[in-house]
Amino acid sequence: MLCLEKVAVILKEESVPSVEKDERDVELEKRRRGLAILFDALPAYGSVAYWKAVEACEEEVLPLEVLVRCVRDALKRGDDLGRRRIFEVIFRRTQSANEYWANNVIKTMNLHVEEQSVLISDLYADLCECVMRALLDSERLFWEESFQHCLSFERRHVFRTLMTREGRWSSETTKKTARVPRALVVSLDQPMLQPAGDLIELHIEDEMAQKALLAVEHSDLPRLILSLPDKLKAVVLLIFWEGRTEKDTAMALGISDRTVRNRLREALKILRDSHELERALLYG
């Protein structure tokens, strides 16, 4: 059986394509062909050698993208047991990342231990279901090219659904958040700690909320942004995550300075309200 390294050598030996193509596109094309070669080199479907290749580990491990094609092949052949067996391999190989992710997501929800355990199982079952459905849908071709990235997208989808279902967000396009993660509430209570050199020019009225947001740990900011309505996310991300000015932000998004200010004000108001709501829930 061919392994990915061998395929890479074969492709390296081939002639360099026309210079008109973007270097990245060429790499992508090479990768696609490499994956196709690996799939085509598999032993006859259903044979002992085939399953040995699919379930191989360590050096001989097949890229997950090739396993996606194997699942779709099993589906075409009507082999239910076969696709179940390939799913098993896929979930075993992605288990550690999925487990880490599920634990992380649930941790942000501040639940009791027993509740956490139940919710982790639910979350993981939802994720597995979404992944299975995506893999069985042969029109979703990007899975055959970039498995891990598609998996990230699927995890994001499951995360959003969970937050909405559990009432953390009132809807997918929510106008208002129900609450801010507890870890952030603690951060918001701390005095403003602006990193040196991060001089952000802001002209907004809600100065307290602005300071509070700046006091949030940089790494916690994305989680906070996620709870905002979609149209406000980009503005907060550019100003607080990337440290851009309002003017820069307006240019990047193709909107006016005034719109940036309005969106920022709206975002800060939502965060402030949810912070107060959280405090009320916590301290009565």
């Binding site: 580990c57 491990v61 997950l64 997501v105 597995c128 279901e129 994001r156 990047a252």
Partner: protein
């Protein structure tokens, strides 16, 4: 956002992630400026990525066994998927009826399958042991009748999901099969092929070769 747009956003964000992973510190502003029509989606993914994905462990070379909790979750997911497949699959109770809907006569269907009328009649009556029907024939039938393989398998009662479904619902298809089984009329597909007087020698050899190949793969 339709599927095509979603895939486009996936490709854009995949590039962002690739740059971030290689330590290039990509500017999200550049991405938003370049693809303003997807700015909200990109911003949402980037925020999500930095919140939950950036620290995930890479795949290890040693493949772990699924833990009890996750094994249960995978089983639950599988049951849900199979259940919806059964609900959404159209079923048919007659091969010839399904062929008729596609404007095929019995003769035309037999020709397309590379079989003879007598064998087709036995398939229609489900008088052939379903476990001996080659996968190639299931594929051909699915192709000709333009139905998923699982539906064709369900007709013969050889699909795992169909069998599961049988436990919950008494389908007409299952009842019909039981009648034939009770009559003891079942033959293996190989026997039917070997005994048919209407099948050409060329086709007989072709089917025997297919069955031999599939048997070999199974072993």
């Amino acid at each position: 956002m339709d599927r095509e747009q979603e895939e486009f956003v996936q490709r854009i964000t995949a590039r962002y992630v690739e740059e971030a992973r290689s330590g290039q510190r990509p500017f999200i502003g550049d991405y938003l400026a370049r693809y303003p029509q997807y700015a909200d989606e990109i911003a949402d993914f980037v925020a999500y990525y930095h919140a939950f994905e950036v620290d995930l462990p890479d795949e290890t070379r040693i493949i772990p066994v699924l833990s009890g909790q996750f094994r249960g979750a995978v089983d639950t997911a599988w049951e849900r998927v199979v259940a919806t497949e059964i609900q959404t699959s159209s079923t048919f109770t007659s091969l010839l009826g399904a062929a008729g809907k596609r404007q095929f006569t019995v003769f035309q269907l037999a020709e397309r399958l590379g079989l003879s009328d007598d064998i087709l009649a036995k398939l229609e009556r489900r008088a052939i042991n379903a476990t001996t029907i080659p996968g190639e024939l299931i594929r051909l039938l699915a192709d000709v009748l333009q139905e998923p393989s699982s539906v064709v398998q369900a007709f013969f009662g050889i699909s795992q999901s169909y069998q599961k479904h049988q436990a919950f619902q008494a389908l007409h298809v299952a009842e019909a099969q039981a009648v034939y089984q009770a009559n003891g009329n079942e033959q293996s597909f190989r026997e039917v092929i070997e005994e048919s007087v209407l099948l050409s020698e060329e086709r007989r050899h072709a089917w025997i070769a297919i069955m031999d190949r599939e048997d070999m793969q199974k072993s």
